[in-house]
Homo-oligomer: 201 residues x 2
C-alpha cells in the first residue's frame, strides 16, 4: 500500500503516528510517499490550505484534531493564532530530505520526528537547522542535506506530486492500493483492510 503524506498536513500527523502498528497487525507492506499539496491545491484555484481559506472548516479541524489526538493518546499542541508558524507550514525542504532519508532504514523515524516537532513541540519545520538536527540523530547530516537538494532529488519529489495528481489525490494523508484511493486518517483502517483483501484475490 502506498502511504501519501504531506509534512504540513495535520491529519498526516495522526496517520503517520499510527500507520506502522496498524499495517504490522495486518502484515501490509508500506511504500512511504512524501508529496506536496501546494501544487495540487493551486490547480484547484486555492493559494493555501482549505483550512486556512474557510474559517469554519479551520476552526473545526483544530478542535477535531485535538479530540482525535487525545483519543489516540498522541501529544498535540495547537499553534497560537498569532504564531507566524501557524498553518500551513512550508514543507518542501522537509519533504526533500524525507525522500532521501526514506532510502535508509531510519527514514520513517525521521519523518515521524519532523511531524512530532511540528505538531507536538511547536517547531518550525522549514528551519534547516532543525531538520539537520533531526537527521543527525541517525547519520552524518551534511551529505544527506546535500543529496536532498540535488536536482535529481527535487525532480523525484515533483514526480511524486505528479503521480499523486494522476491518482486523483486531492488531500493528505491518502492511501492507494493500485488505483483504489482512500483519503484521510479516518480511512487508514479501511485502506489497510482493502490491501489485505486485494492480496487474498
Amino acid at each position: 500500500m502506498d502511504f501519501w503524506f504531506e509534512f504540513a498536513s495535520t491529519y498526516s500527523y495522526l496517520a503517520i503516528m499510527r500507520i506502522e502498528a496498524e499495517a504490522a497487525k495486518r502484515e501490509v507492506v508500506l511504500r512511504w510517499r512524501p508529496f506536496l499539496l501546494g501544487p495540487i491545491f493551486a490547480a484547484q484555484g486555492w493559494h493555501t490550505s482549505p483550512f486556512a481559506i474557510y474559517p469554519a472548516k479551520g476552526r473545526y479541524m483544530w478542535r477535531d484534531l485535538e479530540r482525535r489526538a487525545a483519543r489516540y493518546g498522541l501529544p498535540f499542541r495547537r499553534p497560537a493564532a498569532d504564531d507566524p508558524r501557524v498553518f500551513p507550514q512550508h514543507s518542501v525542504h522537509a519533504a526533500r530530505i524525507a525522500l532521501r532519508a526514506l532510502e535508509e532504514p531510519w527514514g520513517t523515524r525521521f519523518c515521524r520526528d519532523v511531524f512530532r516537532a511540528e505538531f507536538a513541540e511547536g517547531s518550525d519545520i522549514s528551519d534547516a537547522a532543525l531538520l539537520q538536527t533531526l537527521v543527525a540523530r541517525h547519520a552524518d547530516p551534511a551529505p544527506v542535506m546535500a543529496a536532498a537538494l540535488s536536482d535529481e532529488n527535487k525532480q523525484r519529489l515533483r514526480g511524486n506530486v505528479e503521480e499523486a495528481q494522476a491518482l486523483g489525490i486531492f488531500g493528505a494523508p491518502s492511501f492507494t492500493v493500485g488505483e483504489e484511493l482512500f483519503w484521510g486518517d479516518d480511512r487508514l483502517e479501511d485502506a489497510l483492510d482493502w490491501a489485505v483483501a486485494a492480496r487474498a484475490v
Copy 2:
C-alpha cells in the same frame, strides 16, 4: 444530541440509516434537525456542493460512498453522470416536510424513506408527487404538505439554518452536543460517545 442533516447530502444518507441503532446502543436521545447547506455554502462563496465544484473530490466521494455503503450493508445507487437529477438534488421541499413530519412519531421513518428514494432508488426528491406518496404511508398527506409550506414552517427551517451556522456547521451530517461539533458520518460514533461522557459529568 442534535443530528443535523441535509437531504441532498450523500454522507447524511449513511448517517441517517445508522444513527438510531448506534444511539440506542448508548441510550442517547436524538433531536433531528433538518437544515440546508445551500445558504451556508453560498456564504463561503460556493454556488453548489464542493463535490460538484472540485472534480477530484467529487469522483472520490462517490467511490468512497459506494465502499462505505457496502461496508454498512446499505443499498446504494450512484446516479449516472448524464442524469439531470445527478447531484446535488433540490432538497428544500423535502426539508420543509420533514420539519413538520418530525413532530409526529413517523417523522424519522419519513426522513429515511426520502434518503432511500434518493440514494438507493434513484428518485428525484424535489418531485412533490414522490414526497406526497412517502407522507401518505403514514398520514393524510394534504394537511401535512400544506403545513410544510406555511410561512411559519418555512421560517422554522430558516431558523435551523441560522442556528447551524451559529454553531459553526459547514457540512452534513453534523452532530452537536452543546457547543461541541462533530462533522461527517465517520464521526457519528465519536459524537455519541461524547454525548454519553457529557451525560456522566
